[in-house]
């Protein structure tokens, strides 16, 4: 039953990767933003919550609400208007550099103004284990999987079934045409940034009880989101989800059965193999290139 336990904890990690990867991919689709600060975006909301509890004296529940709101404002609105918008017309590279600098800023900011040591973060759910058919499963992992599935299902429903969601998809596919058809392209792009901020905040609240909140957490998480987005397919939400889950499971299996020293290498091999043999990703469609 060890295999089942590994699979479940792999799926839990993978579900978190998937949340982060979906946000990462939505940003790329609608605004050509390769966000090198995505990992730091996951690191930060936990500190909003901790700060609200420490300085505001709020109970944990309200602190989560404040943390979510602060993420929407800082990682959604401020990030878009202050950092991305002025850079968009200059192409991809300067924006990449800017997000790298922003990542450094967030990391050093937290280290300087909050704490350099890892901080314990209260879990939303109990830390118990339950036994199903001889396998010991942690409740926390099951909750993570459930919350992530709910969030992604909600997002899929929003994108596919509501008018606003469809307008967002149209914006991602062809902004010029969408504008002609009366879609408020600017507003749709803002929504994308807000959705990304909400997804990373959710991921942050789910992962911080396990990994503790630390300023340097973003490095590994950002890389994982990258790999998940590319392995799954850069241009589809379900690709990013699949990529995240595959990555989480492969990562845990590799750690258990191959080598703990090289566990970080397995996802990279996966990444290289996918890029070389199936650059559009496992579930993606080939991107059309214009000459």
């Amino acid at each position: 039953m060890a295999l089942l336990q590994i699979l479940i904890s792999g799926l839990a990690t993978g579900a978190i990767y998937a949340l982060v990867a979906v946000g990462f991919m939505l940003l790329w689709q609608t605004s050509q933003t390769i966000n090198f600060a995505q990992g730091e975006f996951v690191m930060l909301p936990a500190f909003f919550v901790l700060a609200a509890m420490k300085f505001g004296g709020l109970p944990f529940g309200w602190a989560l609400v404040i943390g979510m709101l602060a993420s929407l404002i800082v990682l959604g609105v401020v990030f878009k208007y202050l950092l991305v918008d002025p850079m968009l017309k200059h192409g991809v590279l300067p924006l990449v550099i800017s997000t790298i600098a922003f990542a450094l800023f967030l990391k050093e900011g937290v280290k300087e103004w909050y704490a350099a040591e890892a901080q314990p973060f209260p879990a939303v759910w109990s830390n118990d284990n339950i036994e199903i058919g001889g396998a010991v499963l942690s409740v926390q992992n099951l909750v993570i999987i459930a919350v992530a599935i709910a969030a992604v299902a909600l997002l899929q429903w929003f994108l596919a079934r509501t008018r606003t969601g469809r307008c967002m998809q149209a914006t991602a596919q062809n902004p010029a045409l969408a504008r002609i058809l009366g879609v408020r392209v600017e507003l749709m792009i803002l929504y994308t940034f807000l959705i990304n901020a909400a997804l990373v905040a959710l991921a942050s609240f789910l992962i911080s009880p396990i990994y503790l909140a630390k300023f340097s957490n973003g490095e590994t998480l950002g890389l994982a989101a990258f790999i998940a987005a590319i392995v799954g397919g850069f241009n589809q939400v379900r690709g990013a989800i699949a990529g995240g889950l595959v990555l989480g499971v492969v990562d845990n299996l590799a750690a258990a059965y191959i080598s703990t020293q090289y566990r970080a290498a397995i996802p990279l091999f996966l990444l290289i193999a996918v890029i070389l043999f199936r650059p559009q990703g496992l579930l993606g469609r080939a991107e059309e290139r214009s000459v």
């Binding site: 002025p86 850079m87 991809v92 300067p94 924006l95 550099i97 800017s98 600098a101 890389l223 290289i272």
Partner: protein, 315 residues
């Protein structure tokens, strides 16, 4: 070169030669580091600025060069010139082998493949203790004696770095102006047109990538004896991103860009140290501000300031 450029070059070289006489050892160390990072950035500028390919593998090549020199000089007693040459050749070959499959994909995909490569090399450096001594690092990397000239003192080693930087700059200056360099730029500007004019796109891109990688190895071979101790931590993705930052901030595709970018990246954080813990924060804000005001880097900013003035002066 125009006359004012010759004069400016002579002044800068004179200043660089005179600089260590008025500096403390730490200042000389930083200047040497600037020279080393400039070499690595020049290599990346060749790949990125001239051939237009985003590579995040440069840190891995610096690491390979550094470990090549460190291992062979401390454990096997090789002379420095031999390890130096081997480091460059090794990185050229590895760059070629990496580029051959990787250049099937372009732009952001290439960035991701090279990103993975950097992390893989870091893992090998950390885990293969029999070869690299893992996280304990390699201590006591000797500074070489060349033709009876000992570079043990910081000032002497600084001059060695400066000489190598000069040679590399001279080579690349001519390379960029050769038919090869023209072909590199044609690839960046319009790959379809370049290939229709008979430029073997893939071979030239690969060549630019391999030469850029070899320069990373050269920088690494100087880095190891400069610091005299290496472990895997300096050669992570952070260094690759930092080198990318140097090239873009300086002005990618400009010959002088990497030199300026290395100043910003190596020396600016040191000058900001008076601000204590805040220095990296200020640095990050400065980079974001520069990118927002002038995405083509410092040289682009300078060009924009000078051009209108020049136009006004013209009859």
């Amino acid at each position: 070169m125009k006359r004012w450029q010759c004069v400016a070059l002579a002044l800068v070289v004179a200043a660089l030669i005179a600089a260590p006489f008025s500096l403390k050892p730490h200042g000389i160390y930083l200047l040497s580091m600037w020279a080393v990072m400039s070499i690595a950035a020049i290599g990346l500028n060749l790949t990125l600025g001239y051939a237009g390919q985003i590579s995040l593998a440069q840190a891995a090549f610096v690491g390979i060069g550094a470990y090549c020199t460190a291992i062979l000089t401390t454990m096997h007693g090789w002379p420095f010139p031999a390890t130096f040459a081997l480091g460059a050749v090794l990185c050229f070959v590895v760059g070629w082998l990496l580029g051959y499959p990787a250049l099937r994909v372009q732009h952001h995909y290439l960035a991701f493949v090279t990103l993975a490569f950097t992390t893989l090399v870091f893992l090998v450096l950390r885990n293969e203790e029999w070869l690299t001594k893992g996280i304990y690092g390699i201590v006591g990397i000797p500074r070489p004696t060349l033709l009876g000239w000992s570079t043990k003192e910081p000032r002497d080693f600084y001059y060695l770095c400066l000489i190598v930087l000069g040679l590399v700059s001279w080579l690349i200056w001519h390379l960029v102006r050769s038919p090869w360099g023209r072909a590199f730029m044609a690839l960046r500007e319009n790959p379809v047109r370049a290939s229709s004019l008979g430029v073997d796109t893939r071979r030239y891109t690969l060549m630019a990538f391999a030469i850029g990688s070899a320069l990373g190895g050269v920088a690494g071979s100087l880095y190891a004896p400069l610091v005299e101790f290496i472990d895997p931590t300096p050669f992570t993705l952070a260094l690759s991103l930092n080198l990318l930052l140097m090239v873009i901030v300086g002005g990618s595709g400009y010959f002088v860009g990497p030199f300026l970018g290395a100043i910003v990246s190596v020396l600016l954080p040191e000058w900001l140290r008076v601000a204590e813990g805040l220095y990296l924060i200020i640095y990050a804000v400065a980079v974001m501000a520069l990118m927002a005001v002038c995405p083509s880097g410092l040289l682009g900013l300078a060009e924009r300031l000078i051009r209108p003035a020049a136009k006004k002066g013209a009859p």
